[in-house]
Protein backbone atom coordinates (compact mmCIF):
# COMPACT_ATOMS: atom_id res chain seq x y z
CA UNK A 1 0.00 0.00 0.00
CA UNK A 2 1.34 3.41 -1.00
CA UNK A 3 0.90 6.33 1.35
CA UNK A 4 -0.55 8.43 -1.47
CA UNK A 5 -0.60 9.05 -5.22
CA UNK A 6 -0.77 12.29 -7.15
CA UNK A 7 -4.04 13.13 -8.92
CA UNK A 8 -3.21 15.13 -12.02
CA UNK A 9 -5.85 17.58 -13.20
CA UNK A 10 -5.54 20.67 -15.34
CA UNK A 11 -5.17 23.84 -13.30
CA UNK A 12 -4.86 22.28 -9.88
CA UNK A 13 -3.44 19.14 -8.30
CA UNK A 14 -4.69 16.54 -5.86
CA UNK A 15 -3.76 13.39 -4.02
CA UNK A 16 -5.30 10.01 -3.43
CA UNK A 17 -4.32 8.90 0.07
CA UNK A 18 -4.52 5.40 1.53
CA UNK A 19 -4.63 4.00 5.07
CA UNK A 20 -5.41 0.82 6.96
CA UNK A 21 -7.23 2.95 9.49
CA UNK A 22 -8.82 6.38 9.31
CA UNK A 23 -5.98 7.72 11.44
CA UNK A 24 -3.44 6.41 8.96
CA UNK A 25 -5.49 7.75 6.04
CA UNK A 26 -5.61 11.28 7.49
CA UNK A 27 -1.88 11.19 8.35
CA UNK A 28 -1.00 10.03 4.83
CA UNK A 29 -3.20 12.70 3.28
CA UNK A 30 -1.23 15.29 5.25
CA UNK A 31 2.12 13.81 4.22
CA UNK A 32 0.91 13.80 0.61
CA UNK A 33 -0.02 17.45 0.84
CA UNK A 34 3.26 18.42 2.50
CA UNK A 35 5.16 16.63 -0.25
CA UNK A 36 3.50 18.94 -2.80
CA UNK A 37 4.88 21.93 -0.89
CA UNK A 38 8.45 20.71 -0.44
CA UNK A 39 10.76 17.69 -0.57
CA UNK A 40 10.10 16.11 2.81
CA UNK A 41 13.56 14.52 3.10
CA UNK A 42 14.88 17.95 3.98
CA UNK A 43 12.50 18.51 6.88
CA UNK A 44 13.55 17.69 10.46
CA UNK A 45 11.08 16.93 13.25
CA UNK A 46 12.45 19.69 15.49
CA UNK A 47 9.30 20.88 17.16
CA UNK A 48 5.73 19.74 17.57
CA UNK A 49 2.32 21.33 17.38
CA UNK A 50 -1.02 19.95 18.50
CA UNK A 51 -4.23 20.53 16.63
CA UNK A 52 -7.81 19.49 17.19
CA UNK A 53 -10.44 19.68 14.48
CA UNK A 54 -14.16 19.09 14.29
CA UNK A 55 -16.66 18.86 11.49
CA UNK A 56 -20.11 17.44 10.87
CA UNK A 57 -18.92 14.90 8.30
CA UNK A 58 -15.89 12.74 7.75
CA UNK A 59 -15.19 14.42 4.42
CA UNK A 60 -15.56 17.82 6.03
CA UNK A 61 -13.15 16.69 8.73
CA UNK A 62 -10.53 15.82 6.13
CA UNK A 63 -10.86 19.22 4.43
CA UNK A 64 -10.72 21.08 7.76
CA UNK A 65 -7.71 19.04 8.90
CA UNK A 66 -5.71 19.80 5.77
CA UNK A 67 -6.79 23.44 5.79
CA UNK A 68 -5.54 23.74 9.37
CA UNK A 69 -2.14 22.50 8.15
CA UNK A 70 -2.25 24.92 5.20
CA UNK A 71 -2.94 27.71 7.71
CA UNK A 72 -0.06 26.63 9.97
CA UNK A 73 2.30 26.60 7.00
CA UNK A 74 1.13 29.79 5.34
CA UNK A 75 1.02 31.74 8.60
CA UNK A 76 3.88 30.41 10.70
CA UNK A 77 5.93 28.55 8.10
CA UNK A 78 5.43 25.33 10.04
CA UNK A 79 5.86 22.25 7.88
CA UNK A 80 5.32 18.76 9.29
CA UNK A 81 7.21 15.55 8.71
CA UNK A 82 5.80 13.13 11.27
CA UNK A 83 2.15 12.96 12.15
CA UNK A 84 0.54 11.14 15.03
CA UNK A 85 -3.25 11.16 15.03
CA UNK A 86 -4.42 10.25 18.46
CA UNK A 87 -8.01 9.63 17.59
CA UNK A 88 -10.79 10.24 15.11
CA UNK A 89 -14.28 9.91 16.50
CA UNK A 90 -16.62 8.44 15.59
CA UNK A 91 -14.56 6.07 13.48
CA UNK A 92 -16.65 2.94 13.20
CA UNK A 93 -19.19 3.77 10.52
CA UNK A 94 -19.06 5.68 7.31
CA UNK A 95 -22.10 7.64 6.22
CA UNK A 96 -23.37 7.60 2.65
CA UNK A 97 -21.21 9.71 0.30
CA UNK A 98 -21.34 13.34 1.29
CA UNK A 99 -23.73 12.47 4.08
CA UNK A 100 -23.55 13.50 7.67
CA UNK A 101 -21.87 11.27 10.19
CA UNK A 102 -24.01 9.69 12.86
CA UNK A 103 -27.17 11.66 12.09
CA UNK A 104 -25.76 15.16 12.42
CA UNK A 105 -23.18 14.25 15.04
CA UNK A 106 -19.75 15.74 15.25
CA UNK A 107 -16.55 14.18 13.94
CA UNK A 108 -13.40 15.11 15.77
CA UNK A 109 -9.69 14.63 15.32
CA UNK A 110 -6.68 15.28 17.53
CA UNK A 111 -3.16 15.19 16.20
CA UNK A 112 0.44 15.98 17.02
CA UNK A 113 2.61 17.07 14.12
CA UNK A 114 6.40 17.21 14.31
CA UNK A 115 8.34 19.31 11.86
CA UNK A 116 10.15 22.61 11.58
CA UNK A 117 9.92 26.15 10.30
CA UNK A 118 10.23 26.34 6.52
CA UNK A 119 13.47 27.94 5.42
CA UNK A 120 13.65 29.12 1.81
CA UNK A 121 17.45 28.79 1.92
CA UNK A 122 17.45 25.11 2.87
CA UNK A 123 14.12 23.70 1.74
CA UNK A 124 12.87 23.09 -1.73
CA UNK A 125 10.01 25.37 -2.81
CA UNK A 126 7.39 23.47 -4.74
CA UNK A 127 3.69 24.37 -4.85
CA UNK A 128 1.90 27.11 -2.97
CA UNK A 129 -1.34 25.53 -1.75
CA UNK A 130 -4.16 28.01 -1.24
CA UNK A 131 -6.59 25.50 0.25
CA UNK A 132 -7.89 21.95 0.34
CA UNK A 133 -11.24 21.93 -1.47
CA UNK A 134 -14.45 19.91 -1.66
CA UNK A 135 -13.83 19.41 -5.39
CA UNK A 136 -14.20 15.67 -6.21
CA UNK A 137 -13.78 15.01 -2.51
CA UNK A 138 -14.21 11.37 -1.56
CA UNK A 139 -13.52 9.27 1.54
CA UNK A 140 -14.35 5.57 1.20
CA UNK A 141 -13.29 2.09 2.23
CA UNK A 142 -12.34 -0.19 -0.66
CA UNK A 143 -11.91 -3.75 0.56
CA UNK A 144 -9.90 -3.22 3.73
CA UNK A 145 -8.21 0.00 2.73
CA UNK A 146 -9.44 3.51 3.39
CA UNK A 147 -9.02 5.87 0.45
CA UNK A 148 -9.45 9.60 0.07
CA UNK A 149 -9.35 11.86 -2.98
CA UNK A 150 -8.64 15.49 -2.33
CA UNK A 151 -7.97 18.36 -4.73
CA UNK A 152 -6.02 21.44 -3.72
CA UNK A 153 -6.47 24.94 -5.04
CA UNK A 154 -3.06 26.04 -6.30
Amino acid sequence: MNQFEIIDISGDVGIKAFGKSLEELFANAAIGMYSLITALEGIEPEKSINVSIESNSLEGLLVSWLNELVFQFDTYGFIGKKIVITGITPSLTLPPRGGVMGGGGICTLKATISGEEFDTERHERKLLIKAATYHRLKVEKVKDIWQADIIFDI
Binding site: D8, S10, G11, S64, T120, D153
Partner: protein
Protein backbone atom coordinates in the same frame (compact mmCIF):
# COMPACT_ATOMS: atom_id res chain seq x y z
CA UNK B 1 -16.88 17.60 -31.00
CA UNK B 2 -19.49 19.58 -29.12
CA UNK B 3 -22.11 17.64 -27.21
CA UNK B 4 -25.20 17.30 -29.40
CA UNK B 5 -27.42 19.65 -27.41
CA UNK B 6 -25.04 22.58 -27.74
CA UNK B 7 -25.78 25.06 -30.50
CA UNK B 8 -23.37 27.41 -32.19
CA UNK B 9 -24.91 30.90 -32.12
CA UNK B 10 -22.25 32.57 -34.30
CA UNK B 11 -18.53 32.27 -34.90
CA UNK B 12 -17.67 33.49 -31.39
CA UNK B 13 -20.19 31.82 -29.11
CA UNK B 14 -22.18 28.70 -28.42
CA UNK B 15 -25.37 28.21 -26.46
CA UNK B 16 -25.93 25.67 -23.71
CA UNK B 17 -29.73 25.45 -24.00
CA UNK B 18 -31.83 25.59 -20.84
CA UNK B 19 -32.85 21.95 -21.34
CA UNK B 20 -29.23 20.80 -21.33
CA UNK B 21 -29.59 19.85 -17.67
CA UNK B 22 -32.61 19.57 -15.39
CA UNK B 23 -33.15 22.61 -13.19
CA UNK B 24 -31.56 25.20 -15.45
CA UNK B 25 -33.37 28.51 -15.05
CA UNK B 26 -31.60 30.23 -17.94
CA UNK B 27 -29.41 29.20 -20.85
CA UNK B 28 -25.64 29.16 -20.83
CA UNK B 29 -23.45 31.05 -23.28
CA UNK B 30 -19.83 30.13 -23.86
CA UNK B 31 -17.68 32.52 -25.88
CA UNK B 32 -15.50 30.24 -27.98
CA UNK B 33 -14.70 30.05 -31.65
CA UNK B 34 -13.97 26.85 -33.53
CA UNK B 35 -10.30 26.90 -32.50
CA UNK B 36 -10.93 27.19 -28.75
CA UNK B 37 -13.93 24.90 -28.91
CA UNK B 38 -11.43 22.05 -29.26
CA UNK B 39 -10.04 22.79 -25.78
CA UNK B 40 -13.47 23.04 -24.18
CA UNK B 41 -13.71 20.48 -21.36
CA UNK B 42 -17.03 18.71 -20.82
CA UNK B 43 -16.73 19.51 -17.09
CA UNK B 44 -16.61 23.22 -17.89
CA UNK B 45 -19.81 22.93 -19.93
CA UNK B 46 -21.45 21.12 -17.01
CA UNK B 47 -20.30 23.82 -14.64
CA UNK B 48 -21.78 26.55 -16.85
CA UNK B 49 -25.05 24.58 -16.85
CA UNK B 50 -24.91 24.04 -13.07
CA UNK B 51 -24.57 27.77 -12.42
CA UNK B 52 -27.65 28.30 -14.59
CA UNK B 53 -29.68 26.37 -11.96
CA UNK B 54 -28.90 28.84 -9.17
CA UNK B 55 -31.80 30.92 -7.81
CA UNK B 56 -32.22 34.42 -9.24
CA UNK B 57 -29.71 34.09 -12.07
CA UNK B 58 -30.32 36.77 -14.69
CA UNK B 59 -30.19 36.34 -18.50
CA UNK B 60 -27.58 33.58 -18.81
CA UNK B 61 -24.74 31.72 -17.16
CA UNK B 62 -21.73 32.81 -19.18
CA UNK B 63 -18.16 31.70 -19.76
CA UNK B 64 -15.36 33.56 -21.46
CA UNK B 65 -13.06 31.94 -24.07
CA UNK B 66 -10.37 31.18 -21.48
CA UNK B 67 -12.84 28.94 -19.65
CA UNK B 68 -11.64 25.90 -17.77
CA UNK B 69 -12.96 23.69 -15.00
CA UNK B 70 -12.87 25.32 -11.60
CA UNK B 71 -14.22 24.95 -8.12
CA UNK B 72 -18.02 24.78 -8.60
CA UNK B 73 -18.13 27.67 -11.03
CA UNK B 74 -15.95 27.37 -14.12
CA UNK B 75 -12.97 29.69 -14.26
CA UNK B 76 -13.82 32.28 -16.88
CA UNK B 77 -17.38 32.38 -15.56
CA UNK B 78 -19.69 35.39 -15.33
CA UNK B 79 -23.04 35.19 -13.55
CA UNK B 80 -25.31 37.96 -12.30
CA UNK B 81 -28.04 37.50 -9.72
CA UNK B 82 -31.15 39.44 -8.80
CA UNK B 83 -30.88 41.09 -5.36
CA UNK B 84 -34.34 39.90 -4.28
CA UNK B 85 -34.40 36.37 -5.62
CA UNK B 86 -30.73 35.67 -6.14
CA UNK B 87 -27.78 34.28 -4.24
CA UNK B 88 -24.15 35.00 -3.47
CA UNK B 89 -21.58 32.22 -3.73
CA UNK B 90 -17.91 32.23 -2.69
CA UNK B 91 -17.35 29.59 -5.40
CA UNK B 92 -18.30 32.28 -7.93
CA UNK B 93 -15.36 34.38 -6.80
CA UNK B 94 -12.73 31.78 -5.99
CA UNK B 95 -10.07 31.31 -3.32
CA UNK B 96 -7.89 34.13 -4.54
CA UNK B 97 -10.27 37.01 -3.92
CA UNK B 98 -9.44 39.99 -6.16
CA UNK B 99 -6.70 38.23 -7.96
CA UNK B 100 -6.02 40.82 -10.61
CA UNK B 101 -3.63 42.65 -12.85
CA UNK B 102 -2.08 46.08 -12.94
CA UNK B 103 -0.07 47.72 -15.65
CA UNK B 104 2.53 50.39 -15.15
CA UNK B 105 3.92 52.32 -18.11
CA UNK B 106 7.25 54.08 -18.48
CA UNK B 107 8.79 56.43 -21.01
CA UNK B 108 11.66 54.00 -21.53
CA UNK B 109 12.02 52.23 -24.84
CA UNK B 110 12.86 48.61 -25.36
CA UNK B 111 16.33 49.50 -26.64
CA UNK B 112 17.05 51.42 -23.42
CA UNK B 113 16.82 48.33 -21.28
CA UNK B 114 17.82 45.37 -23.45
CA UNK B 115 21.54 45.62 -22.61
CA UNK B 116 20.82 45.87 -18.87
CA UNK B 117 17.87 43.52 -18.73
CA UNK B 118 19.49 40.71 -16.76
CA UNK B 119 20.62 43.05 -14.00
CA UNK B 120 17.28 44.81 -13.87
CA UNK B 121 15.45 41.50 -13.50
CA UNK B 122 17.82 40.53 -10.66
CA UNK B 123 17.20 43.81 -8.86
CA UNK B 124 13.43 43.34 -9.12
CA UNK B 125 13.67 39.70 -8.09
CA UNK B 126 15.54 40.71 -4.95
CA UNK B 127 13.20 43.60 -4.24
CA UNK B 128 9.81 41.85 -4.60
CA UNK B 129 9.14 38.99 -2.16
CA UNK B 130 7.94 35.97 -4.12
CA UNK B 131 7.54 32.22 -3.93
CA UNK B 132 6.50 29.55 -1.46
CA UNK B 133 7.40 30.44 2.12
CA UNK B 134 8.61 33.97 1.30
CA UNK B 135 8.13 36.65 3.92
CA UNK B 136 6.98 40.14 3.12
CA UNK B 137 8.72 43.31 4.24
CA UNK B 138 5.60 44.60 5.96
CA UNK B 139 4.34 43.42 9.36
CA UNK B 140 0.78 44.46 10.03
CA UNK B 141 -0.49 45.12 13.52
CA UNK B 142 -4.14 44.18 14.05
CA UNK B 143 -4.98 47.86 13.92
CA UNK B 144 -3.11 48.54 10.67
CA UNK B 145 -4.62 45.38 9.17
CA UNK B 146 -8.10 46.72 10.00
CA UNK B 147 -7.34 50.02 8.29
CA UNK B 148 -5.95 48.15 5.31
CA UNK B 149 -9.16 46.12 4.98
CA UNK B 150 -11.26 49.30 5.07
CA UNK B 151 -9.10 51.44 2.79
CA UNK B 152 -7.36 49.13 0.32
CA UNK B 153 -4.82 50.83 -1.94
CA UNK B 154 -5.47 54.11 -0.13
CA UNK B 155 -4.00 52.53 3.00
CA UNK B 156 -0.88 51.70 1.03
CA UNK B 157 -0.55 55.24 -0.32
CA UNK B 158 -1.05 56.71 3.16
CA UNK B 159 1.73 54.43 4.41
CA UNK B 160 4.01 55.87 1.75
CA UNK B 161 3.64 53.24 -0.96
CA UNK B 162 2.84 55.27 -4.04
CA UNK B 163 0.93 58.43 -4.85
CA UNK B 164 -2.63 59.60 -4.36
CA UNK B 165 -2.97 60.03 -8.12
CA UNK B 166 -2.51 56.26 -8.51
CA UNK B 167 -5.85 55.61 -6.85
CA UNK B 168 -8.07 56.94 -9.63
CA UNK B 169 -6.49 54.47 -12.03
CA UNK B 170 -7.57 51.42 -10.08
CA UNK B 171 -10.89 49.65 -10.46
CA UNK B 172 -13.19 50.92 -7.68
CA UNK B 173 -10.47 53.44 -6.78
CA UNK B 174 -8.56 50.58 -5.15
CA UNK B 175 -11.07 50.37 -2.33
CA UNK B 176 -14.50 48.81 -2.37
CA UNK B 177 -16.98 50.10 0.20
CA UNK B 178 -18.71 47.83 2.66
CA UNK B 179 -15.76 45.86 4.03
CA UNK B 180 -16.20 44.81 7.64
CA UNK B 181 -13.03 43.84 9.56
CA UNK B 182 -15.17 42.48 12.41
CA UNK B 183 -16.27 39.63 10.16
CA UNK B 184 -12.70 38.50 9.54
CA UNK B 185 -11.59 35.44 11.50
CA UNK B 186 -8.61 35.50 13.82
CA UNK B 187 -6.98 33.04 11.45
CA UNK B 188 -7.35 35.36 8.47
CA UNK B 189 -5.89 38.26 10.50
CA UNK B 190 -2.93 36.07 11.44
CA UNK B 191 -2.43 34.72 7.94
CA UNK B 192 -2.55 38.19 6.41
CA UNK B 193 -0.16 39.76 8.90
CA UNK B 194 3.09 39.12 6.99
CA UNK B 195 1.82 38.59 3.44
CA UNK B 196 1.02 42.17 2.41
CA UNK B 197 3.39 43.15 -0.40
CA UNK B 198 4.16 39.63 -1.60
CA UNK B 199 3.72 38.20 -5.08
CA UNK B 200 2.88 34.60 -4.18
CA UNK B 201 3.50 31.71 -6.54
CA UNK B 202 1.79 29.67 -9.25
CA UNK B 203 0.73 31.83 -12.19
CA UNK B 204 1.39 35.10 -10.38
CA UNK B 205 4.14 37.21 -11.81
CA UNK B 206 5.84 40.52 -12.33
CA UNK B 207 6.84 41.13 -15.93
CA UNK B 208 8.89 43.73 -17.75
CA UNK B 209 7.35 44.03 -21.19
CA UNK B 210 7.36 46.21 -24.26
CA UNK B 211 4.54 47.34 -26.51
CA UNK B 212 5.09 45.51 -29.78
CA UNK B 213 1.88 46.23 -31.62
CA UNK B 214 -0.78 48.90 -31.47
CA UNK B 215 -4.18 47.98 -32.89
CA UNK B 216 -6.10 51.09 -31.96
CA UNK B 217 -3.98 54.22 -32.27
CA UNK B 218 -6.56 56.57 -30.80
CA UNK B 219 -7.16 54.57 -27.61
CA UNK B 220 -3.46 53.79 -27.23
CA UNK B 221 -2.68 57.52 -27.44
CA UNK B 222 -5.34 58.35 -24.90
CA UNK B 223 -3.94 55.76 -22.50
CA UNK B 224 -0.35 56.81 -23.21
CA UNK B 225 0.90 53.66 -24.91
CA UNK B 226 3.29 53.71 -27.88
CA UNK B 227 5.22 51.11 -29.84
CA UNK B 228 8.49 49.99 -28.28
CA UNK B 229 7.51 51.39 -24.87
CA UNK B 230 8.53 49.51 -21.73
CA UNK B 231 5.70 48.48 -19.37
CA UNK B 232 5.54 46.47 -16.15
CA UNK B 233 2.68 44.10 -15.42
CA UNK B 234 1.87 42.76 -11.96
CA UNK B 235 -0.43 39.76 -11.50
CA UNK B 236 -1.27 38.79 -7.92
CA UNK B 237 -4.14 38.84 -5.41
CA UNK B 238 -5.09 38.83 -1.75
CA UNK B 239 -2.65 36.05 -0.84
CA UNK B 240 -3.26 33.86 2.23
CA UNK B 241 -5.61 36.47 3.67
CA UNK B 242 -8.12 36.00 0.86
CA UNK B 243 -7.65 32.23 0.78
CA UNK B 244 -8.52 32.07 4.48
CA UNK B 245 -11.61 34.26 4.01
CA UNK B 246 -12.81 31.91 1.27
CA UNK B 247 -12.05 28.79 3.36
CA UNK B 248 -13.88 30.27 6.39
CA UNK B 249 -16.97 31.25 4.42
CA UNK B 250 -17.30 28.01 2.48
CA UNK B 251 -18.11 26.41 5.84
CA UNK B 252 -20.66 29.12 6.56
CA UNK B 253 -22.22 28.60 3.14
CA UNK B 254 -22.35 24.81 3.54
CA UNK B 255 -24.61 25.38 6.55
CA UNK B 256 -26.59 28.08 4.75
CA UNK B 257 -27.48 25.69 1.93
CA UNK B 258 -29.38 23.43 4.31
CA UNK B 259 -30.75 26.33 6.36
CA UNK B 260 -32.32 27.97 3.30
CA UNK B 261 -33.10 24.64 1.60
CA UNK B 262 -31.28 25.53 -1.61
CA UNK B 263 -31.06 22.61 -4.01
CA UNK B 264 -27.68 22.39 -5.68
CA UNK B 265 -26.38 20.10 -8.42
CA UNK B 266 -22.90 20.39 -6.88
CA UNK B 267 -22.02 21.17 -3.26
CA UNK B 268 -19.18 23.43 -4.42
CA UNK B 269 -21.83 25.93 -5.51
CA UNK B 270 -22.65 26.49 -1.83
CA UNK B 271 -24.38 29.85 -1.54
CA UNK B 272 -26.89 31.90 0.42
CA UNK B 273 -29.70 34.29 -0.59
CA UNK B 274 -28.29 37.76 -1.29
CA UNK B 275 -30.31 39.32 1.53
CA UNK B 276 -29.39 36.69 4.13
CA UNK B 277 -26.90 37.55 6.89
CA UNK B 278 -24.60 34.79 5.60
CA UNK B 279 -24.36 36.35 2.12
CA UNK B 280 -24.01 39.89 3.47
CA UNK B 281 -21.29 38.74 5.87
CA UNK B 282 -19.43 36.96 3.08
CA UNK B 283 -19.62 40.04 0.85
CA UNK B 284 -18.32 42.26 3.66
CA UNK B 285 -15.42 39.86 4.30
CA UNK B 286 -14.76 39.42 0.57
CA UNK B 287 -14.55 43.22 0.23
CA UNK B 288 -11.94 43.29 3.00
CA UNK B 289 -9.94 40.71 1.05
CA UNK B 290 -10.44 42.63 -2.21
CA UNK B 291 -9.02 45.70 -0.50
CA UNK B 292 -6.10 43.65 0.81
CA UNK B 293 -5.34 42.67 -2.81
CA UNK B 294 -5.48 46.24 -4.11
CA UNK B 295 -3.09 47.32 -1.38
CA UNK B 296 -0.85 44.37 -2.25
CA UNK B 297 -0.53 45.32 -5.91
CA UNK B 298 -0.01 48.95 -4.85
CA UNK B 299 2.93 48.02 -2.56
CA UNK B 300 4.51 45.82 -5.20
CA UNK B 301 4.18 48.58 -7.79
CA UNK B 302 5.79 51.03 -5.38
CA UNK B 303 8.83 48.79 -4.90
CA UNK B 304 9.00 48.30 -8.65
CA UNK B 305 9.21 52.07 -9.09
CA UNK B 306 11.88 52.26 -6.40
CA UNK B 307 13.90 49.50 -8.04
CA UNK B 308 13.76 51.25 -11.44
CA UNK B 309 14.71 54.54 -9.82
CA UNK B 310 17.73 53.06 -8.12
CA UNK B 311 18.74 51.07 -11.17
CA UNK B 312 18.54 53.99 -13.57
CA UNK B 313 19.67 56.53 -11.00
CA UNK B 314 16.73 58.81 -11.63
CA UNK B 315 13.24 59.56 -10.32
CA UNK B 316 10.11 57.56 -11.23
CA UNK B 317 8.65 60.81 -12.54
CA UNK B 318 11.51 61.19 -15.00
CA UNK B 319 10.97 57.58 -15.98
CA UNK B 320 7.28 58.38 -16.53
CA UNK B 321 6.29 55.45 -14.36
CA UNK B 322 2.57 55.96 -14.08
CA UNK B 323 -0.17 53.47 -13.50
CA UNK B 324 -2.24 52.58 -16.57
CA UNK B 325 -4.91 50.67 -14.69
CA UNK B 326 -5.59 47.88 -12.20
CA UNK B 327 -8.36 45.30 -12.67
CA UNK B 328 -9.84 42.59 -10.47
CA UNK B 329 -10.62 39.27 -12.13
CA UNK B 330 -12.00 37.30 -9.14
CA UNK B 331 -14.72 39.32 -7.46
CA UNK B 332 -18.46 39.75 -6.79
CA UNK B 333 -19.84 43.28 -7.08
CA UNK B 334 -23.18 44.97 -6.88
CA UNK B 335 -23.57 46.90 -10.13
CA UNK B 336 -26.31 48.54 -12.12
CA UNK B 337 -27.19 46.89 -15.42
CA UNK B 338 -30.08 47.08 -17.87
CA UNK B 339 -32.37 44.06 -17.65
CA UNK B 340 -35.37 43.91 -19.99
CA UNK B 341 -34.99 47.60 -20.72
CA UNK B 342 -34.88 48.61 -17.05
CA UNK B 343 -32.02 49.67 -14.80
CA UNK B 344 -31.49 47.10 -12.11
CA UNK B 345 -28.97 46.39 -9.39
CA UNK B 346 -27.44 42.93 -9.64
CA UNK B 347 -24.69 41.07 -7.86
CA UNK B 348 -22.24 40.17 -10.64
CA UNK B 349 -19.83 37.30 -9.98
CA UNK B 350 -16.67 37.38 -12.10
CA UNK B 351 -14.44 34.39 -11.56
CA UNK B 352 -11.57 34.57 -13.95
CA UNK B 353 -13.30 37.35 -15.86
CA UNK B 354 -12.52 41.05 -16.11
CA UNK B 355 -14.79 44.05 -15.89
CA UNK B 356 -14.91 45.83 -19.26
CA UNK B 357 -16.96 49.02 -18.89
CA UNK B 358 -17.58 51.18 -21.97
CA UNK B 359 -16.79 54.84 -22.63
CA UNK B 360 -19.01 57.14 -20.60
CA UNK B 361 -19.70 54.70 -17.78
CA UNK B 362 -20.18 56.65 -14.52
CA UNK B 363 -17.81 54.35 -12.59
CA UNK B 364 -14.83 55.25 -14.79
CA UNK B 365 -12.32 57.93 -13.81
CA UNK B 366 -12.17 61.11 -15.91
CA UNK B 367 -9.01 59.88 -17.61
CA UNK B 368 -10.94 57.00 -19.21
CA UNK B 369 -14.44 58.46 -19.58
CA UNK B 370 -13.84 58.98 -23.31
CA UNK B 371 -11.85 55.86 -24.12
CA UNK B 372 -13.56 53.31 -21.92
CA UNK B 373 -12.01 51.13 -19.25
CA UNK B 374 -8.60 49.60 -19.95
CA UNK B 375 -8.78 45.81 -19.66
CA UNK B 376 -5.53 44.00 -18.88
CA UNK B 377 -5.14 40.45 -20.11
CA UNK B 378 -2.01 38.58 -19.04
CA UNK B 379 -0.75 35.74 -21.21
CA UNK B 380 1.83 33.09 -20.48
CA UNK B 381 5.43 34.09 -19.82
CA UNK B 382 6.66 33.35 -23.33
CA UNK B 383 4.07 34.80 -25.66
CA UNK B 384 2.17 38.02 -25.03
CA UNK B 385 -0.25 40.04 -22.91
CA UNK B 386 -2.88 42.50 -24.12
CA UNK B 387 -4.46 45.83 -23.33
CA UNK B 388 -8.09 46.01 -24.42
CA UNK B 389 -10.86 48.48 -23.86
CA UNK B 390 -14.40 47.96 -22.55
CA UNK B 391 -17.41 48.30 -24.84
CA UNK B 392 -21.11 49.01 -24.85
CA UNK B 393 -21.64 45.52 -26.25
CA UNK B 394 -20.11 44.02 -23.11
CA UNK B 395 -22.67 46.01 -21.08
CA UNK B 396 -25.47 44.59 -23.21
CA UNK B 397 -24.27 41.01 -23.40
CA UNK B 398 -21.96 40.08 -20.52
CA UNK B 399 -22.76 42.48 -17.67
CA UNK B 400 -19.72 44.49 -18.72
CA UNK B 401 -17.29 41.56 -18.61
CA UNK B 402 -14.64 39.94 -20.76
CA UNK B 403 -11.88 37.30 -20.52
CA UNK B 404 -9.02 37.33 -17.99
CA UNK B 405 -6.07 35.43 -19.43
CA UNK B 406 -4.88 32.44 -21.35
CA UNK B 407 -6.17 29.47 -19.34
CA UNK B 408 -4.21 26.27 -18.87
CA UNK B 409 -4.34 23.39 -21.31
CA UNK B 410 -1.79 21.17 -19.57
CA UNK B 411 -1.83 20.03 -15.96
CA UNK B 412 1.16 20.96 -13.85
CA UNK B 413 2.53 17.45 -13.93
CA UNK B 414 2.07 17.11 -17.67
CA UNK B 415 4.02 20.34 -18.04
CA UNK B 416 6.79 19.14 -15.72
CA UNK B 417 7.03 15.88 -17.68
CA UNK B 418 7.19 17.77 -20.94
CA UNK B 419 9.92 20.01 -19.62
CA UNK B 420 12.05 17.15 -18.34
CA UNK B 421 15.61 17.39 -19.62
CA UNK B 422 15.00 20.93 -20.88
CA UNK B 423 16.25 24.16 -19.39
CA UNK B 424 13.18 26.37 -19.74
CA UNK B 425 15.07 29.46 -18.56
CA UNK B 426 17.61 28.96 -21.34
CA UNK B 427 14.95 28.42 -23.99
CA UNK B 428 13.38 31.66 -22.82
CA UNK B 429 16.72 33.45 -22.80
CA UNK B 430 17.32 32.35 -26.38
CA UNK B 431 14.09 34.16 -27.22
CA UNK B 432 15.31 37.25 -25.40
CA UNK B 433 13.27 36.73 -22.24
CA UNK B 434 15.04 36.69 -18.89
CA UNK B 435 13.18 34.68 -16.24
CA UNK B 436 13.78 34.24 -12.53
CA UNK B 437 11.72 32.06 -10.24
CA UNK B 438 11.83 31.03 -6.62
CA UNK B 439 10.57 27.49 -7.19
CA UNK B 440 12.63 24.95 -9.14
CA UNK B 441 9.61 23.52 -10.96
CA UNK B 442 7.69 26.77 -11.41
CA UNK B 443 9.15 27.52 -14.83
CA UNK B 444 8.26 24.08 -16.13
CA UNK B 445 4.71 24.38 -14.83
CA UNK B 446 4.37 27.83 -16.28
CA UNK B 447 5.96 27.26 -19.69
CA UNK B 448 4.12 28.58 -22.73
CA UNK B 449 2.94 25.22 -24.00
CA UNK B 450 1.02 24.66 -20.76
CA UNK B 451 -1.34 27.50 -21.73
CA UNK B 452 -3.76 28.32 -24.49
CA UNK B 453 -2.47 31.02 -26.78
CA UNK B 454 -3.80 34.22 -25.24
CA UNK B 455 -3.98 35.74 -28.74
CA UNK B 456 -6.71 33.21 -29.62
CA UNK B 457 -8.62 34.13 -26.48
CA UNK B 458 -8.34 37.86 -27.12
CA UNK B 459 -9.28 37.33 -30.76
CA UNK B 460 -12.62 35.86 -29.69
CA UNK B 461 -13.58 38.66 -27.27
CA UNK B 462 -12.48 41.24 -29.85
CA UNK B 463 -14.53 39.69 -32.63
CA UNK B 464 -17.47 39.16 -30.26
CA UNK B 465 -17.19 42.89 -29.49
CA UNK B 466 -17.20 42.49 -25.69
CA UNK B 467 -13.90 44.38 -25.59
CA UNK B 468 -11.59 45.82 -28.22
CA UNK B 469 -7.89 45.22 -28.78
CA UNK B 470 -5.68 48.23 -28.16
CA UNK B 471 -2.14 46.93 -27.81
CA UNK B 472 -0.06 43.79 -27.53
CA UNK B 473 2.73 43.55 -24.98
CA UNK B 474 5.66 41.13 -25.23
CA UNK B 475 7.52 39.82 -22.19
CA UNK B 476 11.22 40.68 -21.71
CA UNK B 477 11.85 39.95 -18.05
CA UNK B 478 9.73 37.68 -15.87
CA UNK B 479 9.67 37.14 -12.12
CA UNK B 480 7.75 34.14 -10.90
CA UNK B 481 7.10 32.72 -7.46
Amino acid sequence: MLPEKLKRIDDTKIEVPADYKPGMRVKGIIYVDEILEKDLESHSIDQVANVATLPGIVNASMAMPDVHTGYGFAIGGVAAFDLDEGIVSPGGVGYDINCGVRLLMTNLKKIDIVPKLKDLVSVLYNEIPSGVGSKGKIRLTPDSERRLMLNGARWAVEEGYGEMSDLERIESGGCIDGADPDLISKKAYERGRAQQGTLGSGNHFLEIQYVDEIYDEKSANAIGLFEGQVTVMIHTGSRGFGHQVCTDFLEVMERAVSKYKIELPDRELACAPYKSPEAQDYLAAMRAAANYAWANRQCIMHWTREAFMEFFGTSPRELGMSLVYDVAHNIAKVEEHIVNGRKKKLVVHRKGATRAFPPGHPDLPDAYKQTGQPVLIPGDMGRASFVLIGTEKAMNETFGSTCHGAGRVMSRHQAIRKARGRAIWREMEDRGIIVRSAGRETLAEEMSEAYKDVSDVVDVVHRAGISKRVARLRPMGVIKG
